[in-house]
């Protein structure tokens, strides 16, 4: 097209193409500027996350004599205990996530319905344990749950049970301890997302004749799902790497992946043995996140970045 005839239209405005070029150049400049601003962060992420993970992967490919080999991965299939540990890890993570949803959803819902002042008081009760050391809370649970602990003593004094219940040093105690620690990770994003639900939508539903239950089911619950999904993902992924609580409360019978890494790292003379466990956990976690992403939509896994 000729510049002379196309640069101005009949109303005297600049030609759209010229405008686009200028805008594009501007956008490119801005992108470069943003990239420059981001670069310290990117360098940091590269240096402290990408490089070490790459190194971990590299290490996992060498056996004890320093030869390139798949021995570290083959071990998972040769030793039944690795598979068992892996299954236990996911069993714990699923159970804890489920327990957190059952306990956390009603709690977050109640918080979202309370007046502001009451919420800030209630949130303190959610956050206070969050600030307490995991180790301290785990020991506190031991004191409560063990054979001569509070629960068993009370129940026996009340005559409810004749023999102490096995509450500590097993799967149940790990789930109880971890659920307590994980609950805020579910409640906080869920509460934040419930708070943003427009009350007018609920009013409109009621106005159109829906019962409170139907309003909740058809309007509130679907709108709270992104928050729930992000809470579930956070809790689940954190559970997969849990160490302290299962180590102290599992009685040595509930071995999770992180504990296995510790054992393997001290048992084998090559770092690769432990590194391989890390690589496998990372790969499986990423695969699961991908699955969540597809099932629950981008908002579930990306909810933090949107805020």
């Amino acid at each position: 097209m000729s510049v002379a005839s196309a640069s101005l239209d009949h109303a005297g405005r600049p030609d759209a193409a010229l405008n686009t070029d200028a805008l594009r150049a501007d956008a490119r400049r801005e992108a470069r500027g943003l990239l420059a601003l981001l670069s310290p962060g990117l360098v940091l992420v590269f240096a402290v996350i990408i490089v070490p993970i790459g190194w971990l992967f590299w290490l996992s490919l060498f056996d004890e004599s320093g030869e390139l080999s798949a021995a570290n991965y083959a071990r998972f299939f040769e030793q039944a205990s690795y598979i068992k540990t892996f299954v236990t890890t996911f069993k714990v993570a699923f159970t804890v996530t489920g327990a957190c949803v059952l306990l956390g959803y009603p709690l977050a819902y109640m918080l979202s319905q309370l007046p502001r002042r009451a919420v800030s008081i209630c949130l303190i009760f959610v956050i206070l344990p969050f600030w307490t050391s995991v180790l301290v809370r785990t020991y506190a649970w031991l004191v409560i749950l063990q054979r001569k602990g509070l629960v068993n003593t009370w129940l026996m004094d009340l005559g409810v049970i004749g023999q102490p219940l096995p509450l500590a040093n097993n799967f149940a105690s790990v789930v109880i301890g971890m659920t307590h620690i994980m609950l805020p990770f579910l409640v906080l994003p869920l509460y934040a997302s419930m708070r943003t639900i427009d009350v007018d939508c609920l009013r409109a539903g009621m106005n159109l004749g829906a019962s409170p239950a139907a309003t909740f089911r058809q309007i509130f619950f679907p709108l709270s799902l992104p928050g729930l999904a992000s809470g579930v993902v956070i809790v689940f992924v954190l559970c997969l790497g849990f160490f302290v609580t299962p180590a102290l409360m599992g009685g040595g019978k509930v071995i999770m992946w992180a504990m296995r890494m510790e054992q393997t790292t001290s048992l084998y003379s090559n770092w690769g043995a432990g590194a391989a466990l890390g690589v496998v956990l990372l790969a499986v976690t990423l695969a699961l996140l991908g699955l969540f992403h597809r099932l629950l939509g981008a908002r579930a896994t990306g909810v933090w970045s949107e805020r």
Binding site: Q79, K148, A247, G251, G252, K253, T265, S266
Partner: protein, 346 residues
């Protein structure tokens, strides 16, 4: 006491590493041990007197064991001049070439069991694995032998064994089969595993740290357990209703090494020579229940007679116990531990 919560340890080690002075002066050495009351006792028994006699400064750090040394040596960042390890770790680290050769012209090895004197590591003290039971449950008729511990009909009750120290649990499992103490080593691993298999359904907790073993017994979560004698002694001192003896104990040694690449290894040799000397070795049982590695310590007259019977490495007590063989575990630990883990997780 070779394993404790590693996460904690790593954090502490990280913090220490970040504040550690990079190049120590020539007359300063850094010694790492297990921390806690044990290291406090070592400070009074070994480190302070040595620092004074040699006119050097001894800085202290804590270790998680062999992987810390491996990390420093392979990473070319050795910050310790002497570190303590479990004897089987010393044997494994020696095979991996992680330690400096020790100079036995400087270090007098007489009085130390030859099994604990090697080119690049030397014994420093003993811990015993003993059988402890609660006297409020059993009176004084509790399980006295590992065969009793395995006998769930005669001694009903909750039980705990070490899940992290396969070497120790396999040793007591061999004893439980009725193998006499002088025939336990070399351990028939498959036989010992079968023995563990018999009792594992009755084990309520497999402990992974000394503190955990202590807590399980103290709180009455279990009625009997295997436990390190230092922890058992502390429980008794605190007035917990417990009983234990050195009969059928498993005597495990700790050792000291100079990590390869130590910048002050000459001073380290001199300090190590002091640590294992009968005179300073005799100090250790004055502060802690871990016995001296040097038998001559008992000849110095420093240890009161009524104290000697409580010390695991006193000649009288050594006779009652199995001496864990570090060389045996050097070659079999990995396979045995994997099999042991498989078994207890089923």
């Amino acid at each position: 006491m070779t394993k404790r919560l590693r996460i904690q340890g790593m954090v502490i080690a990280g913090l220490l590493a970040s504040v550690a002075v990079p190049a120590a002066a020539a007359d300063t050495i850094t010694v790492a041990s297990w921390g806690g009351t044990y290291q406090e006792a070592q400070t009074k028994a070994f480190f302070d007197p040595t620092a004074k006699e040699l006119g050097i400064t001894i800085k202290q750090d804590t270790t998680n064991g062999l992987d810390d040394v491996r990390l420093q040596v392979t990473g070319n960042a050795v910050k310790w001049d002497i570190t303590e390890l479990g004897a089987d770790e010393c044997a494994r680290g020696s095979k991996e070439g992680l330690f400096e050769k020790l100079d036995y012209n400087v270090i007098d090895k007489s009085g130390i069991n030859p099994k604990l004197v090697h080119d690049d590591w030397v014994g420093i003290s003993y811990t015993s694995v003993v059988l402890i039971y609660r006297t409020d449950v059993f009176g004084d008729k509790g399980p006295k032998t590992w065969a009793d511990f395995w006998d769930v009909q005669k001694f009903p009750g909750r039980r705990a064994l070490s899940g992290s120290q396969a070497t120790e649990t396999l040793s007591v499992a061999a004893l439980a089969k009725g193998i006499p103490i002088d025939k336990v080593y070399p351990v028939d691993i498959d036989g010992a595993l079968q023995s563990v298999d018999k009792v594992k359904g009755h084990i309520d907790a497999w402990w992974t740290s000394g503190a955990q073993a202590m807590q399980l017994v103290k709180d009455g979560e279990v009625d009997m357990a295997s436990i390190w004698n230092g922890r058992a002694g502390t429980l008794r001192k605190e007035g917990a209703p417990v009983s234990f003896s050195f009969d059928q104990g498993v005597l495990t040694a700790d050792c000291m090494v100079v990590p390869k690449g130590s910048k002050n290894k000459d001073i380290a040799m001199k300090a190590l020579a002091k640590f294992v000397s009968p005179d300073l070795q005799a100090n250790l049982p004055l502060y802690v229940d871990n016995g001296p590695a040097n038998e001559k310590a008992f000849e110095t007259g420093k240890i009161p007679q009524d104290r000697i019977k409580d010390i695991n490495s006193a000649p009288e007590n050594v006779k009652k116990q199995v001496l864990q063989d570090p060389a045996f575990w050097r070659d079999t630990l990995v396979e045995a531990t994997e099999k042991f883990n498989n078994l207890i997780q089923q």
